[in-house]
């Protein structure tokens, strides 16, 4: 029973004897569960190679995917433009889910609206919803732009979004010149990263495709930066800072950094920051466009190359030392601005951190999962530190990713043992963590059930999770960190090293038993 001095929430309340008894009685009397022995035996079987083989034979079933659907990515993209309301043409339930998902990751308000298609719209099409929805949305939300993407329902019934928006203008539901770019983002194609790519292409083509007259590559002397589906706020900031330190004029094409980080000061700001429409219109005049997530932005890249006539340079995601070097050198090359002393010093500091920490990381085996370009960058960082990636699971990969990943792994002796699992999910990863135990698993919050499951086999089998990627629901404020650039490298080295040290403490903290390496100095 609770006492006022010691009120217990779920944990440890349900560990109290009376609740343990209650749960045990329920189980034994009413649940008709199988015997403890059978459960133990079955669990043990799920940790075997035999189970893994069966698991990898799956063709139809996905278990614990490490990806979500297109419109979520489209919505994040829409948020990156000034005073832009994200509008989802389709079911309202999806939008509730997108908002919740981002709420949980960013711990921020997320303003998206739906036009709430239901059964009648499924039969008659969603044009009425678009017309009414745009009318209400423009009245209510004081937006400068409404960015529309779709959900399954609109896609399956084949709604013609372009025509609907055109008709809305014609019929006066929305002003003729109010900007409404859109993208088709069917959830049964690709993943959230595809959705980001589609929405980005939708927005930039809306503002530039028909108005290329008079545009001259290089005339505004800026460079464009396209981030892709990026959830680390620090990554927006670090790229801007580095470019400022280089004295490079730039346009950040899609910049949700501020709207995802407004202050608590008594006012709720629905919009903050973001790329302006004028900046988008001016973007074709830039010297070039750098894409920070090269394998995930194919559609946008095609558009930019063919319409803006930009030669989009081949670049890797600027993670770790060498790929950040490469990024800065490319910026320097295209702008003619030298890389300043400050960045050189920062680079040196990162390398210094690596020299200080490498001994704890060298030879550590880590399994990884996440989005394709992030995994490339993370792998690169690991290889630079002498970490050995073992199993690399990418649920939403493509051929380009596989090729790039293979090339990267072959470039380092630390990568030779790594195996790629394109299109695989976290239940595959669970098997791999049992049959070929890595020292750590690196990925989103979803990896925590794998840690729990491996621990259940016994403490010596536990694979601890290091949280890097998206989504991270169960730790606070990690989304504010930085993974790109030298600064990001510092965060990664810190995170990885201290995870190793914490684990070592966990294992060696037992007095007069394991505490031989329980050291004050590390």
């Amino acid at each position: 029973m609770q006492t006022v001095e010691d009120t217990k929430p779920c944990f440890p309340l349900f560990n109290e004897p009376d609740y343990r008894e209650l749960i045990k009685n329920k189980r034994e009397t009413f649940e008709e569960t199988v015997s403890k022995e059978k459960i133990a035996e079955t669990f043990a079987w799920t940790t075997t190679q035999e189970y893994q083989d069966l698991n990898f034979k799956r063709e139809a079933l996905t278990i614990n995917p490490a990806k979500v659907c297109q419109p979520l990515g489209g919505a994040l993209c829409g948020m990156g433009f000034e005073k832009t309301m994200v509008y989802i043409h389709g079911s309202q339930g999806c939008v509730a889910y997108f908002r919740t998902y981002f709420n949980r990751h960013f711990k921020e308000p997320i303003a998206f609206i739906a036009d709430s298609m239901t059964e009648d719209a499924a039969v008659f099409g969603g044009q009425k919803n678009v017309h009414e929805g745009l009318q209400n949305a423009t009245k209510l939300y004081d937006a400068k732009m409404i960015a529309v993407c779709t959900t399954c329902i609109a896609e399956v019934i084949g709604d013609d979004l372009g025509a609907f928006i055109g008709n809305a203008r014609k019929e006066g539901h929305v002003e003729k010149d109010f900007p409404i770019p859109y993208a088709n983002t069917p959830s049964f194609v690709g993943s959230h990263i595809t959705g980001w790519d589609n929405m980005f292409e939708g927005i930039v083509s809306y503002f530039t495709q028909a108005t290329m007259d008079g545009k001259v590559v290089g005339s505004n002397k800026k460079i464009n930066i396209v981030p892709g589906f990026e959830t680390y706020l620090g990554n927006y900031r670090v790229i801007k800072r580095m470019l400022k330190e280089m004295d490079v004029d730039f346009t950040y094409l899609c910049d949700p950094e501020e709207v995802l980080d407004t202050p608590a000061n008594g006012e709720y700001q629905m919009y903050a920051g973001g790329t302006t429409i004028d900046e988008v219109k001016d973007a074709p005049n830039a010297i070039t466009t750098l894409m920070l997530q090269p394998t995930s932005l194919e559609k946008s890249k095609k558009f930019i190359e063919s319409t803006w006539n930009h030669e989009v340079p081949k670049l890797n995601i600027p993670m770790g030392v060498e790929w950040t070097d490469e990024f800065l050198m490319k910026v320097s090359e295209v702008t003619g601005k030298p890389i300043p002393e400050s960045l050189l010093k920062e680079r040196g500091r990162l390398v210094d951190m690596m020299t200080d920490s490498h001994a704890w990381l060298h030879g550590k085996k880590m399994a990884l999962f996440g989005d394709p370009d992030f995994l490339l960058g993370l792998t690169k960082v690991m290889l630079e530190l002498g970490i050995e990636p073992t199993h690399i699971v990418c649920n939403n990969s493509n051929k380009r990713w596989e090729k790039a990943m293979k090339k990267l792994l072959e470039s380092s002796p630390y990568g030779v043992h790594a195996k790629l699992y394109p299109g695989c999910d976290l239940w595959h990863m669970r098997s791999l963590c049992f049959t070929d135990k890595p020292d750590f698993i690196v990925g989103s919050t979803y990896g925590k059930t794998i840690q729990r499951d491996t621990l259940y086999k016994g403490p010596e089998f536990e694979v601890p999770l290091i949280r890097l990627g998206f989504p991270i629901f169960d730790r606070h404020h990690l989304h504010r960190m930085t993974t790109l650039g030298y600064e990001g490298g510092m965060y990664l080295v810190t995170t990885l090293t201290n995870a190793v040290l914490e684990r070592l403490d966990e294992k060696t903290k037992f007095m007069n038993d394991t505490d031989y390496n329980f050291d004050i100095v590390r």
Partner: protein, 491 residues
């Protein structure tokens, strides 16, 4: 904030509606009301369970969320397939914190997301073949599951897949219950229809499975319906029922099992906590098996005591004495909690906007702590919910159905509550505004809130939020002077 008069409250509603275009304004006006306790039937003054206005920020979910996310998801020994594209299953994974006891991946499956991850070809050629194959794969990898439910996402209904036929065929093959659930997200106007559809599937595929089987009954057999064990709620409820001498044969669906559900028609009384999500199946069992059902409320000691006595009144003196014994046992602890927290919370105004039952059920718990609920509303209620709510609310308080983000924020700006209890989608906007906020869908990662043990946590949580020092730091000190001058002007 002084008490709002009826006129002032009505004027506030009208002011807030001003910004809408005519059609939307007319529609939204029907969903907002000032409470009048003399009116018996809410349908005279509020409209509910209607389509949300397109293009406004509704907080509502969909039928799939109601079925898979709420009702089916917490049944632990059944595998739920999110049948369709990849998103829905991921978004509904683990968010509700419906706890269970079991070995995940072996005999319990609540925290695993199973999906058919539809690709374009599945849309073009249909997903039935994939579903059949997937069920075989599930059977191979999870032999101890008791059954499978197929939770259909939007495309499944639109492309005309016959999940019923596949389920029937595969069920015969594997010898387990397979339940097709037509909970496509576009059905109905909110998650509410999903609850109904889920209940119908329980009725059609589970409830009568043991009609011919013997069962060792006792006169004290009851079932808990509509408790999802969020943060362990159902355990904190069950312990009281068992202590008073009842035998809880089944609890739904939090920490629930197929066997418990199948045995439910054998009980003497169904106890219904979330009326909205499970009144359908309670009514069905009443009709078919003549099992009476009783609504109860386990939030806050006043309502808990009232409910325990109500429940006991359906049984003999043993149970009646049992109820009194339980109430007596916990009363000192509850009094101590109230003695500690009431002085800190007395007179604080609360606004609620949640789903299911909480906008009315938690009112008593707030009142036990000396707090006052000045506004309440539901995401997906029907008018029978508002009938019940109007009785719990004071006169001239605000009631809002399917409130839009904009309306809710405006109401809060004007009424300046000391605490808001609502969902995660609303949480952070109010944090920016500096209004103390508790998430009342999943207890803000705390709980349980049901039962006497839960009330202790509830009281602690409300206090920690209302009285945390962080809310006092929103204005920088060098801006404070300016602000107070502005405030004076405004006043």
């Amino acid at each position: 904030m002084t008490e709002l008069t009826r006129e002032a409250a009505q004027a506030l509603i009208e002011e807030v509606l001003e910004v809408y275009p005519e059609k939307a304004k007319k529609d939204r006006a029907k969903h907002l009301m000032v409470n009048d306790k003399t009116i018996e039937q809410s349908k005279k003054c509020i409209t509910s369970n209607r389509k949300s206005v397109p293009g406004v920020m509704t907080q509502r979910g969909c039928a799939y969320a109601g079925s898979k996310g709420v009702v089916w998801g917490p049944i632990k020994d059944i595998i739920d397939i999110s049948h369709g594209p990849v998103g829905c299953g991921a978004y509904s994974r683990g968010g509700r914190r419906n706890y269970y006891a079991g070995t995940s991946g072996v005999d319990a499956f609540c925290d695993i997301n199973f999906t058919s991850d539809f690709q374009e070809k599945d849309i073009v050629f249909g997903g039935d073949k994939k579903l059949a194959k997937l069920i075989d794969e599930l059977e191979g990898l999870f032999p101890l599951s008791k059954g499978i439910s197929v939770q259909s996402e939007c495309p499944v209904g639109l492309i005309g897949d016959d999940i019923e036929a596949v389920s029937k065929k595969k069920a015969a093959e594997i010898g387990k219950t397979i339940i097709p659930v037509r909970c496509e997200g576009f059905r109905g106007v909110s998650q509410s229809l999903g609850h109904h559809i889920a209940n119908d599937a329980v009725r059609d595929w589970i409830i009568s499975n043991r009609d011919d089987q013997a069962f060792e009954s006792t006169p004290y057999d009851v079932a808990i319906l509509g408790d999802y064990n969020i943060g362990g709620d159902a355990w904190a409820s069950r312990i009281l029922l068992e202590e008073m001498g009842l035998r809880v044969v089944a609890q739904w669906s939090g920490d629930g099992t197929l066997a418990e559900m199948e045995n439910t028609p054998k009980v003497k009384l169904n106890l219904l906590h979330c009326y909205r999500s499970m009144n359908y199946i309670a009514r069905h069992m009443e009709e078919k098996y003549a099992i009476p059902w009783l609504e109860y409320n386990f939030f806050g000691p006043s309502k808990i005591a009232e409910s325990l006595r109500d429940i006991a009144s359906h049984f003999d003196d043993t149970i009646k004495e049992g109820a009194e014994r339980v109430i007596a046992k916990y009363t000192p602890a509850m009094n101590a909690i109230i003695a500690k927290y009431k002085p800190r919370l007395q007179g604080k105004k609360v606004m609620l906007y949640v789903g299911g039952l909480r906008p009315r059920h938690t009112i008593g718990a707030y009142e036990d702590l000396g707090m006052e609920v000045i506004g309440a509303g539901y995401e997906f209620a029907h008018n029978d919910d508002y009938d019940r709510t109007m009785k719990e609310m004071k006169d001239a308080t605000l009631i809002y159905d399917d409130v839009t983000g904009y309306e809710f924020e405006e109401f809060v700006r004007k009424l300046k509550p000391d605490l808001i209890g609502s969902g995660i989608k609303e949480k952070y906007a109010f944090h920016k505004m500096g209004v103390p906020f508790r998430q009342l869908h999943s207890w803000d990662y705390s709980g349980p809130y049901h039962g006497f043990d839960g009330f202790a946590v509830f009281a602690r949580d409300m206090d920690m939020t209302v009285n945390n020092p962080c809310w006092g730091m929103l204005k920088a000190p060098w801006l404070k002077e300016e602000t107070s001058a502005d405030d004076l002007k405004a006043a």
